[in-house]
Amino acid sequence: MAQRVGIEVSLACAEAVKLARTDVVSAYPITPQTHIVEHLAELVANGELEADFIPVESEHSAMSACIGSVAAGARTFTSSSAQGLALMHEMLFIASAMRLPVVMAVANRALSGPLNIWNDHSDIMAERDIGWVQTFAENGQEVVDLTLHAFKVAEDPRVSLPTAINMDGFILTHVIESIELPDQKDVDAYLPPFKPLQILDPGRPRSLGVVGGPEIYTEARKAETVALENAYAVVTEHFEGLRKQFGRAYKPVETYKSEDAEVLFITMGSLGQTCMSAVDEMRAAGRKAGVVRIRLWRPFPAGDFIDAVKGARQIIVCDRAISPGACAAPVGAEIKSLLFNRKINNIYVSNPIIGLGGRDVTRQFFKDIYAQAVKDAASGKPMATEIMGVKE
């Protein structure tokens, strides 16, 4: 029987990678991802994980080696953060275009400059369009479960796409908390061995990564895009698998006290946890607030999201990244575009940008944002995106 143990979230992530019987780990250290790969190196060094650990010389090579490794047929994991993820940028698109199911844990951190090692989502938001399945974990348990889920989804022949699990740097990665680590036999039952659809095999030579001219590039991108869209059904199917195997239920979009809520916070990642605590206190003070937490970011679960917010008169989309010069921050823009597509125009959308570069987001801050947003809506102020908590 799986035990609930105290363990640092990074180590728990590495343990999940071990339980997945990963063949190759290729990674370059960067704060706050380091504990994940250090622990994996240790597990390999101790023979607890029968894998090849490639201590590459850069993140660019980390992802390049992952691509090579999956193309060779090996179950492959990497992890990175911020500048490292940015250095991988070019490779991330190629991994998905080649349909190679790499799994990556991203310890979310701010992008330089100024140099900042602390948490926000600017690293992954700069990689929105890489064509990967992308999930956000809210706590350590989710990190473990979503890591196993990531392999399951990525390697599913109906998907065959790389998958990233996002976890807030420090706020999750460096916290020791209570986590249930699954038993090996349950993981084996959930996650069978990797059966790649095509590999580099001298017995059946094929060419991977060819030149695609104007006469085929559009079709290639269409095929890849449809594959990611179709991944939604597989993601939910394997969430259900998690529930059956491990007893923990997950949905692409989670709600909290949203049924009768008039104003909903929209969060991703660990922010949702503090936000729920804030909502509890706001409810006690008579405010009809709720939370909608987006767990699946790509493909975006449009239907689930609409279902979750349709009863609200106002939503507060909390972004942890800026899209300079754009009409909204990344998550805000996504949601406004979705509401427009669905001809929903009776929801006032506030889009505060909060928690940049490790700036702590407290319950009080959520209450302040709420008060401001409600005031804006009441006064008929045009909907806007605003960086909050800036010292003037």
Binding site: R99, L197, Q198, S207, V210, G212, I216, E219, K222
Partner: protein, 109 residues
Amino acid sequence: MAKEGLHSWEKLPLGCSVPEAGSAAAYNTGDWRSGRFPFTQRESCIKCGLCYIMCPDICYHPDPQAEGYYTWDSFYCKGCGICIHECPKKAIVWKDEKEEEEYGSACGD
């Protein structure tokens, strides 16, 4: 409408791969050649095989009919002339394409 693609996106091999090895063999590079082609005078040939190994376009193959000699393939030859330059016996010479109706004779039988 914009120009159409080569084929349906639904027929694209996974990740735009090419599952069939060596399929470029169907591609004619012989029409890159202009006006002349290399002709082996077998009476001078010493069967050294340098034409075979030095040809960047893989146009020479062992002659199944005459051991030690090599046949030339008009379908691929781009007419670079390396075989002519590298032949130690000057056994390969340029010939005007107009002179030869049949490339089969280019292997000098």
